[in-house]
């Protein structure tokens, strides 16, 4: 779930825009460099962005019976790296706002920070950590995708709590309230996304050896 249009006060909207801007600018500079060096990467990046959008329109079943969509942040961060994901994430969020009324323009900065910065960086860090500790590719990808997804929603709850603190217990209480609604319900979905991402990576790179499974997928963009 992204924060809907108009849900955050104007000051918070501006602050989150400012917070996510450096990451998006860094990603845009990187994309610029990639495109200068290899113009053919342009189409690949566009197709990847569109793929991420379509991914978010696919429903996955969860334990509670409710449905939600995969965020794809884990998959994207592992394959393309987190800096490129910041720009692709903004584009996906923009199209989700304009084509699905999912998220919004005033809350684009806040949603970018949780979905395109926090999620991918957490997923990427866990993926590198897992590989560094010698965990298997499947387990590292599972943890990266599941925790990246969960981190996104926990951070969304924090953003909502900062804007609307609890009258008696303050921001901590509000994190618990919003987390109970938007993040705890997400745990089974995060696990589902983790399993899903392993299935995807396995099906994509099934015939290659463990070590270069991900390298094979990135192709031109690395």
């Amino acid at each position: 779930m992204h924060i809907m249009e108009g849900y955050l006060p104007a000051s918070h909207c501006a602050a989150w825009y400012a917070a996510s801007a450096p990451f998006v600018v860094a990603g845009a500079l990187r994309i610029r460099k990639i495109v200068r060096e290899r113009p053919e990467a342009r189409m690949i990046l566009a197709a990847s962005g569109a793929f991420a959008f379509v991914l978010s329109a696919l429903k996955i079943p969860s334990v509670t019976g409710s449905c939600s969509h995969p965020t794809g942040t884990g998959l994207g961060a592992v394959i393309f790296g987190p800096s490129v994901m910041a720009v692709l994430g903004v584009l996906v969020l923009l199209f989700q706002a304009l084509l699905l009324a999912h998220g919004g323009l005033t809350t684009l900065g806040a949603n970018t920070f949780s979905m395109a910065v926090v999620g991918p960086w957490v997923a990427y860090a866990i993926w590198r950590l897992g590989r560094g500790l010698g965990l298997s590719v499947a387990l590292s990808i599972f943890l990266a995708a599941a925790l990246g997804d969960l981190a996104t929603y926990v951070f969304t709850s924090v953003q909502l709590a900062l804007a609307y603190p609890d009258p008696t217990s303050g921001i901590v209480g509000a994190v618990a309230k919003f987390g109970g609604i938007f993040a705890v319900t997400q745990i089974p979905l995060a696990i589902a996304e983790g399993i899903l991402t392993v299935v995807v990576i396995d099906a994509l790179a099934g015939k290659t050896a463990d070590a270069d499974k991900v390298g094979v997928l990135a192709g031109e963009i690395r």
Binding site: A47, V54, L58
Partner: protein, 246 residues
């Protein structure tokens, strides 16, 4: 997927499709900024009212379509309001004093802002808005990738819908376990296809001397100063009324 195609089609067929983008953007984005910065009562209510009149009476957006798109944000609003109406005190969860009023004001502001977003989404195709970004100084490379992404969204979306239909017809969604596996297979088959399609398109365009920019003929007229002035006057009036009545 069908929802995004529906919104895109509605925007392209809108009565205000050929109005200058600058006018529609000033209208939608200007009111959007007012909706979040004015006090919710009566500021956001005035903004929402003005926007709904413009959407339904001016641009003649069909109400059913509008309502279908608005369902999703309303769901978020309902879930979020629960958190505002409760508080965590020393003795656990309790109704928050003034929580209903706070939730009501927030609902008002969010609905007003959503009506601005829906006005833009249902009258202006995303490509027009993206092309406008170039004029605001967003790097050309990023805008080009955004425009290409937009074109790919519908191609890849159609493929995903076809794959899901095929799996449904073969009991691929009969149990939860199978369903998760099926969705995984769709995603796994979709990514290489998308990338492959991108590579083929790139080769085809390179063979035709494509240098990287998408120039498309656009026949939208330039924004008229009178219309812009009228929009600004309306917005100033709404802002003044909102601030004065608060």
């Amino acid at each position: 997927m069908s929802l995004s195609s529906m919104v895109d089609r509605a925007a392209s067929l809108s009565r205000w499709r050929n109005r200058p983008v600058a006018e529609k953007a000033c209208l939608g984005l200007g009111f959007l900024i007012l909706a979040v910065s004015l006090p919710p009562w009566p500021g956001a209510a005035l903004v929402g009212g003005a926007m709904l009149v413009i959407t339904f009476a001016g641009a003649r957006v069909p109400f059913r379509l509008w309502a279908t798109v608005a369902v999703l944000p309303v769901g978020f609003l309902a879930a979020g309001s629960v958190a505002l109406m409760l508080q965590i005190g020393p003795d656990g969860l309790a109704p928050a004093p003034g929580g209903v009023a706070a939730a009501g004001l927030l609902t008002l502001r969010a609905l007003a802002a959503t009506s601005c977003l829906l006005f833009l989404a249902l009258t202006t195709p995303a490509t027009d808005l993206l092309s406008g970004l170039r004029r605001l100084g967003v790097p050309v490379e990023v805008v080009e990738i955004a425009l290409l992404t937009y074109r790919f969204v519908f191609l890849i979306g159609d493929t995903a819908v076809a794959m899901t239909h095929a799996q449904r017809a073969r009991l691929g969604h009969s149990t939860r376990r199978r369903r998760l596996r099926s969705v995984g297979l769709v995603i796994a088959n979709l990514l290489p296809r998308a990338l492959d399609q991108a590579r083929r398109m790139e080769t085809g365009l390179a063979a035709r001397g494509w240098a990287g920019d998408m120039r498309v003929l656009s026949n939208t007229p330039r924004a008229s100063p009178t219309a812009l002035l009228a929009i600004f006057t309306l917005q100033v009036a709404v802002a003044a009324a909102g601030a004065w009545l608060a």
